[in-house]
Amino acid sequence: MVYLRLIAQFIRASIMEETSYRVNFWINLLHSLLNLTTGVLGVYILFAQIERVNGWGFPAALAVLGVYLTIQALRNLFIGPSLDILAGMDGEVWSGNLDFTLVRPVNIQFLASFRRWHLFALFDLILGLGVLVFAVVRMHEALTLPNIGLFLLTLVAATGILYAILLAFSALVFWSPGVMFTWIFDGVFQLGRYPLGLYPGWVRLALTWIIPVGVITTIPAQALSGDLSMNQLALILLMSVVLVFCASLFFKAALRRYASASS
């Protein structure tokens, strides 16, 4: 498994790079705790005013927040840092440094998606899962093995959807190298903090079919608490496979536009 060995090497290199800036550890810790506090209080303040919104209570909404934090942590673990190298004013597409990436004897999409790791995100992952477990226990749902299995399955599918969207947004840099397209998605992704059911109908439709942020966070949360329907399971699995496939094709097509940078 050449690819797994490469990933291990990428992780090692990233650890060496990150540990050379020690103060960053405390800054990262501060950011993680702020993110957790604002997230949890955001849900708590809403449900301090009203007990149920469209059938959603505090623990169920908190579970969705837990999935949101978990997926956000996975995004920051490798997908985000790796793809961000492409875009922006000092990105590889603008500067022409993508030349050096392209000549490597490895699949370019693999390199673009896995080459940089931000291991502090593992801490965020634990926090996210912690919120999720706390919420499910508050719902008085037992954590059964089949539910955990379904949850992990839908979580992988959700990460696939997120990856596909970010890959497609990153591929847009081949048209306009200076623009941070993934930032646009990051804005929309914040809507996933709350259950889809809290939003008006048209937003719900948009977040299911146009930019499936709602699918990414709401369905895994329902899987863990045992509220998952067969339709939802089929939807998230199918969507994940189709989107990853389409995004890969799009990335390949976009790559053909790359003409290096003139010096």
Partner: protein
């Protein structure tokens, strides 16, 4: 005092920033998202009735105003002041024959103009589609504009003195992130301040953050009146004066310590 030079600097910054408008549009889009989320969530939760004294149409008005006020008072400038000090390009500020404060003010004005070009049309369209409902009077509009001016003054100088700490530490940006989180929680973004749980509400009324964003909107909507209005303006003025005085002191102390590396 060379105010003509200052005006030339302001004009040139905003004209050159308009060249990078897509970048600022993406930033502005990101800043609009949290208020938009809470607009949808709260107006949905209010449903056909009311919550915390607001109907769902009034929540829409509140958050549309919040988008504008937040955009007008948010100083993205202060995120770059730290870099200017670290990299030594503050030397240019010091050498020009005009007050150095003109430099951050120039990018502050430029940023406002560029982001408003994006935010104003978007919020007008949202207003047309979502039918906000606002009951106010002309004297409240006047008072709210006054509160808005002080809110800008307070938020700019509060961020400025935090950013100036870069004279001593390379990591002052973390404090700006902390400020953003506190604004989110205590300035009326996550919920209007009068709807916060008691502990948070007490913190919001004493600390400066409510007076950076939420207060002008509360004044406009008539949520503060009589004695509370008087006290509110008093507290806001005190914090704004404190922010100006602290930044002046920090500036002079920092400058004495500054060693002009690089540039």
């Amino acid at each position: 005092m060379n105010h003509k030079g200052g005006w030339a600097l302001i004009k040139s910054s905003w004209l050159s920033w308009m060249q990078y408008r897509s970048f600022f549009f993406i930033l502005a889009f990101g800043w609009m998202i949290p208020p938009l989320i809470y607009m949808l969530v709260w107006s949905g939760a209010a449903g056909a009735g009311s919550l915390g004294g607001l109907t769902s149409q009034e929540f829409i008005a509140y958050y549309l105003l919040l988008i504008l006020v937040n955009q007008l008072t948010y100083s993205q400038t202060n995120w770059t002041v730290g870099d200017v000090i670290r990299m030594g390009s503050i030397n240019h500020w010091l050498l020009r024959p005009m007050p150095p404060l003109y430099n951050p003010l120039a990018s502050e004005v430029a940023g406002k103009v560029v982001t408003m070009v994006f935010v104003l049309p978007i919020s007008s369209v949202l207003a047309l589609v979502l039918h906000p409902e606002l009951h106010t009077s002309w004297d409240r509009v006047g008072l709210a504009l006054l509160a808005l001016a002080f809110a800008w003054l307070l938020r700019f100088f509060w961020g400025y003195w935090l950013a100036l700490l870069a004279f001593w530490t390379t990591r002052a940006d973390a404090l700006l992130a902390l400020q953003d989180s506190l604004v989110f929680l205590l300035a009326g973004v996550v919920a209007p301040v009068w709807m916060l749980p008691a502990g948070l509400k007490a913190a919001a009324n004493g600390l400066p953050f409510r007076f950076m964003v939420g207060f002008p909107i509360e004044v406009l909507m008539g949520q503060v009146s009589g004695q509370a209005l008087f006290i509110g303006f008093g507290v806001q003025t005190l914090w704004a004066a404190a922010a100006v005085i602290i930044s002046t002191i920090v500036w002079w102390l920092g400058l004495r310590r500054y060693a002009a590396i690089g540039g």
